[in-house]
Amino acid sequence: MKKTERIKYLIIGNSAGGIGAAEAIREVDKNGTIIIVSDEPYPAYSRPLISDYLSGKRSIEKMNYRPFDFYEKNSISTILGEKVNRVDFKNNTVTFSNGHILTWEKLLIATGGTPIVPPMDGKEARGVFTFTTLGDARAIDEYLNQKTGANAVVIGGGLIGVSVTESLLKRGVKVSIIEMKDRVLNIILDEITSAMEDKAIRASGAEIITGHTVTKINSNSRGEVESVTLDDGKTIPCSIVIISIGIRPRLELVQNSEIKINRGIVVNMHMETSIPNVYACGDAAEAYDFIYRENRLTPIWPNAYLGGRIAGLNMSGKTAEYPGGTALNAIKYFGVYIVSAGMAASPDSTYEEVVANGESSYKKLILKEGFITGMVFSGDVDRAGIIYNLMKDRLYVNSFKNDLVTENFGLLSLPEKIWRNRLATSPLESDSSKSSVSPC
């Protein structure tokens, strides 16, 4: 039998989740071997910045998530540009696409998400892209550099679709967004804020077609995209197509294993999967959502990092619990600042909405039985974190809910017990809630 080195901590995925875990492990265990693996060939970069790369605003070096000496300083080995093909959960090994095998003691699956590409005629044509990696951004960049007067069709008006639209417009590419639902950003925004974005996108020169979908991508004799056909038969000429209808957990390594999967890899409060010593986090995992109070996919960067951190602490022998995450978005596309968290719209009439619609700001809270379950703010977004944390800590706000959407809202809009608690370094015991000195 071939003998392989035993790695104490093996992390698949060199992004938010993987780095969060590695940093946490190094807080606890200074020496245990850590290897981070990724099929992407770069040091960890900020994925949301691929739009700045495409628009030409930021170079690859300026996208690095950590300083250049991060891995060396923390004695973290990396295997980059290599894909893991298989995980053997019985013998604790991984097999790489080049045949190499590694043995691990603790494994973190932080494989992130993969773009959803629906079955669609012509999707193999040259000039059809997805937009979730730096590689995608570079490929689009190269393709566009060969074209003049390009126009693009962006399929899907969600976060990634709007983000790529902004970059393309900045490059002088004409864009048509095709959104199947009746409004853009319909998952993370409510109707009012969607309309604000809609207006800003159109004002920047893009076309938005809602209520329709692309059924076919047509190409010319060179195999390059030349138009798309919509479900109503209409064709839109274009030289490039970006498919951005969503992402789903990247589960190829666990699909046929005994690991428990729902929509993502199911993890407990320690971010451990159904197999001991195997952890998961980030876009690949289904972890606790404190709004829905059940495990859900919450594919955003902060949740990936924190989930990774909790996994890392537990992997290295500490006991730490994931406080839960939820959807959270702060967007500034086309100069419109909007933040939303939890539910963006009330699911049914048992929810209550508290709204303040000012001249230059809009604030909406969604409540159920006196607890906040969602928020959407635009314009004046400063101090929104105070409210997010009321929601996160599940504090009963019924008696002061109307104060939370006022203009001069602050900590003093909260009951004394809560603001005193917030000003202290750690939760105060109730009897010391009168402490008059607080570090801040």
Binding site: Y305, K332, V339, D382, G385, I386, Y388, S436, P439, C440
Partner: protein
């Protein structure tokens, strides 16, 4: 009243001790507020703005160089209660964990949470998770702003200019002497 102040110092010192023992690093200083003598005059905000202005002159800062730099502290007042709020460099910094670009990190030497303006894209994700609302958005420059302890100044401007000494700085040594003098045992217990 005194008793509560001590309670806080003990807790603070215990935290500091933990860092020292585990990581062998310099603990950070913190700014404390004495809310019972804060009259909400707002001078902490004013001097914070001056400190972060390109000119060290009040009149120029407030009258000539518009837009004015934004304050990194915020005074809150309600009835006769008032205090100023700023980043308190949380032990578990939600902002740093949430930062999309890696701009927010803890400086290993000072233990302060810092924003790298080069990397910051002003996206407000950090602001959304801060329980104190202590991170502010500078729309003009598309950057996030927070208390930076006046960049290593011995006494930060807000503390130095508080007319009522409602703000004060505490360092490990002070805290230790203070605690040791009065209560010898709880510290070791806390550790």
């Amino acid at each position: 009243m005194r008793q509560f102040i001590e309670y806080d110092i003990i807790r603070y010192t215990a935290t500091v001790f933990r860092y020292l023992v585990i990581e062998g690093i310099t603990p950070m200083r913190k700014i404390y507020i004495k809310e019972e003598v804060c009259i909400g005059c707002g001078l902490c905000e004013v001097y914070c703005q001056l400190q972060h202005s390109s000119v060290r002159d009040l009149i120029k800062t407030f009258k000539k160089r518009l837009p004015r730099p934004l304050p990194r502290v915020r005074v809150e007042t309600k009835g006769n209660v008032s205090f100023s709020v700023r980043c308190r460099n949380c032990d578990e910094p939600a902002c740093a964990y949430a930062c999309l670009t890696g701009a927010i990190t803890r400086n290993p030497e000072t233990r302060m949470i810092t924003v790298d303006e080069e990397k910051c894209i002003g996206c407000c994700t950090c602001m959304m998770v801060c329980p104190l609302g202590a991170i502010k958005q500078d729309k003009e420059h598309k950057k996030m702003l927070k208390c930076d302890f006046c960049h290593g100044e011995e006494i930060p401007a807000c503390v130095a200019n508080c007319p009522n000494e409602a703000l004060f700085c505490l360092e490990l040594d002070d805290a230790l002497t203070d605690v040791k003098m009065r209560i010898p045992s709880p510290v070791s217990q806390a550790v």
